[in-house]
């Protein structure tokens, strides 16, 4: 029973990673991106294994009744990752780092009823309205991954600010990298 459930979860994660690659922005995929997607899928599988192992039978059996102690630990694990997921330029593909972080957040959110707001952002390069659309695509990319991994879609709200709300105001990749992001906000 437990094995089936973990395997099913693994399958879901791998499929969702593959799905995200399949339906992501750039239809002209380059080898580099394909390789990264494969790495992301592998990382997702491993992260899922870790999460499943860490969360124990309560999560795996899907009863949704983690003990408060376990839940606290899951929330701490999620908090350690931070609530921001970063992206490459003009991309909405989840990076392996983002997936690892998301898996921790999903594990922590599964046993709660909190609503979630995903705020998509871009760097300042390119046009403002294309960036609004790109920010939405990033937020949707995170939302789709969460939904595929068991967070009910009605709990998730997305909004894009495009390039209007930078974290770092300066130019250059160091600043831009901080701005290409989705922020996860838990709405109580």
């Amino acid at each position: 029973m437990k094995h089936v459930s973990v395997a099913g979860k693994l399958m879901a994660l791998v499929l969702s990673a593959a799905f995200l690659v399949a339906c992501s922005s750039s239809s002209t995929k380059e080898d580099e991106e394909a390789a990264r997607a494969a790495a992301a899928a592998a990382a997702a599988a491993k992260a899922a294994q870790d999460a499943a192992a860490a969360s124990g039978s309560a999560t795996a059996s899907g009863t949704g009744t983690a003990t408060s102690q376990e839940q606290q630990r899951l929330e701490q694990a999620a908090a350690a990752y931070g609530n921001v997921f970063y992206f490459a330029f003009d991309s909405s593909n989840l990076t392996p780092e983002a997936i690892a972080s998301l898996n921790a957040h999903i594990a922590a959110l599964k046993n709660t009823n909190s609503n979630i707001r995903l705020e998509g952002h871009t760097d300042e390069r390119g046009t403002r309205e294309y960036n609004l659309a790109l920010g939405e695509r990033r937020a949707n990319s995170v939302r789709d991954y969460m939904v595929l991994n068991g967070i009910a879609s009605y709990r998730i709200e997305t909004i894009s600010y495009g390039e209007e709300r930078p974290i770092a105001y300066g130019s250059g990749e160091a600043n831009w990298a901080q701005n290409r992001r989705v922020e996860l906000v838990v709405v109580k």
């Binding site: 339906c23 922005s25 750039s26 239809s27 002209t28 003009d90 300042e124 390069r125 390119g126 046009t127 403002r128 309205e129 294309y130 609004l132 659309a133 790109l134 939405e136 695509r137 949707n140 997305t158 909004i159 894009s160 600010y161 495009g162 209007e164 709300r165 105001y169 300066g170 130019s171």
Partner: protein
């Protein structure tokens, strides 16, 4: 579908609000090689009370900003004629002046203010053009811009676009965890007389003009989500046009004013829609899983240009409203976006990426030639003057957002930095009726 929440605010108080702090200044950075030397003599004041504005200075600045004219400094002028009898051609020949503009400003009873002007060809020693402009005293600067339009047209053959206006977004950074402060500002085409149309702690973007120049539309996040608003300039009355889940952006009025193209992602991803502004009925235009955004009307109203990354990278496409056919327009480079079309239906300005930098480029729809007009790295939001001569756009100087302009041949450049804060998203008005 959520019903459209039609919210009408009366923001007339904002129209009477204090001048914007984001006042623009003008720095001409590049002019033409052989500009025409023109002396604009201070106009004689023949009215009652104090003279309202220095009309000649406004006209002189307009002509100089076009890059096609070289001004003559007042301190070099050997005389200040205001009538033909007072003109001594040898004085102006000595200054190598090609043209001479003189004028008189009066306040006829019950008729506001009136500018009479006369243009002389110094070499031919003859008056070549004259006329007058009149209107309410509060429009004094606009009257001066109209004189500049007439002089420009007489000397270049192209109607002037000085008696037009701009809307733009200025932002004061909140700093230290505070939200930024956004303002939508209306000004003269030279950045003078700024008036704040709207202030918000939430983002404002994508301002655009109605074809009659009486309304603007824009995207405001004031409700916590992006929504399209339309605002009447004279009264300040606002109407919220959209309140859909997801993106509500890219408002663009059809040339006949009846329809607004816009971007909505209510059906899952960004698509172009048309809203009938009378019935508020929506018609979906695009149907593709990629990003479709930034609609712009061709001047004949028969097709739309828009940005789509359906080919993998953002490129400009054209949608024919009669046939429903979509054709790709740009092929050069990996990023072409946010097209705006000149009134001739031939010149298109857009954002083009080259070697990692974003520039403003001009695409000729007939020859398909693309010419890069700017050399700065983060140029965006091009808006073309109604006479097709200049392109206003947003760029960055240091880490500040500024407005800049370039002529469609790339030969003339000027900047309009703000005295305070970031400025962005300029939209040049159409020709304004009186």
């Amino acid at each position: 579908m959520k019903s459209l929440a039609i919210v009408i605010f009366n923001l007339a108080f904002l129209l009477s609000a204090a001048l914007a702090r984001a006042d623009l200044t003008i720095e001409i950075t590049q002019g033409m090689d052989n500009p025409t030397a023109i002396a604009v003599v201070p106009f004689a004041w023949e009215g009652t009370g104090a003279a309202p504005v220095d009309m000649a200075a406004v006209i002189d600045a307009d002509l100089t900003r076009s890059g096609q004219f070289a001004p003559v400094a007042r301190t070099d002028m050997l005389g200040l004629p205001s009538t033909e009898q007072e003109v001594f051609y040898r004085d102006w020949r000595a200054l190598e002046t090609e043209y001479l503009l003189i004028g008189r400003v009066s306040t006829p009873p019950g008729a506001g203010i009136r500018i009479d002007y006369e243009l002389f060809d110094v070499l031919r020693q003859s008056r070549v053009f004259y006329g007058y402009e009149s209107g309410p005293a509060r429009d004094a600067r606009m009257l001066a811009h109209r004189v500049a339009d007439k002089i420009y047209e007489h000397l270049t053959g192209i109607p002037g676009a000085f008696a037009t206006r701009l809307v733009y977004v200025s932002v004061t950074r909140g700093g230290q965890g505070n939200k930024d402060f956004y303002r939508l500002t209306l000004s003269d085409s030279d950045g003078a007389q700024p008036v704040v149309l709207l202030e918000s702690r939430e983002p404002l973007l994508a301002p655009t003009w109605s074809p009659d120049g009486k309304h603007v539309a824009y995207v405001s996040f004031e409700t916590g989500r992006p929504a399209i608003f339309r605002q009447e300039l004279v009264t300040g009355k606002r109407e919220q046009l959209t309140n859909f889940q997801g993106l509500n952006s890219g408002p663009a009025w059809s040339p006949d004013g009846s329809t607004m193209a816009m971007v909505l992602s209510k059906d899952g991803n960004p698509e172009i829609y048309l809203m009938n502004l009378a019935s508020k009925q929506l018609t979906r235009v695009t149907n593709h899983y990629s990003i479709d955004t930034e609609p712009a009307w061709m001047p004949d109203g028969k097709s739309l240009l828009f940005t789509s990354d359906r080919g993998g990278k953002p490129q400009i496409y054209r949608y024919d409203l009669n046939t429903g056919a979509t054709t790709r327009v740009t092929f050069e480079g990996t990023y072409n976006a946010r097209a705006r079309v000149a009134q001739d239906g031939r010149n298109v300005v857009l954002v083009h990426q080259q070697d990692g930098d974003f520039h403003i480029a001009l695409l000729d729809l007939v020859t398909n030639r693309m010419q890069i007009l700017t050399s700065t790295a983060l140029d965006e939001s091009p808006s073309i003057a109604p006479n097709g001569s200049m392109v206003l756009y947003a760029t960055k100087a240091g880490d500040r957002g500024i407005l800049a302009a370039v002529s469609v041949d790339g030969g003339v450049k000027f900047r309009l930095p703000s005295r305070d804060g970031d400025v962005r998203e300029p939209a040049w008005s159409p020709y304004l009726t009186r």
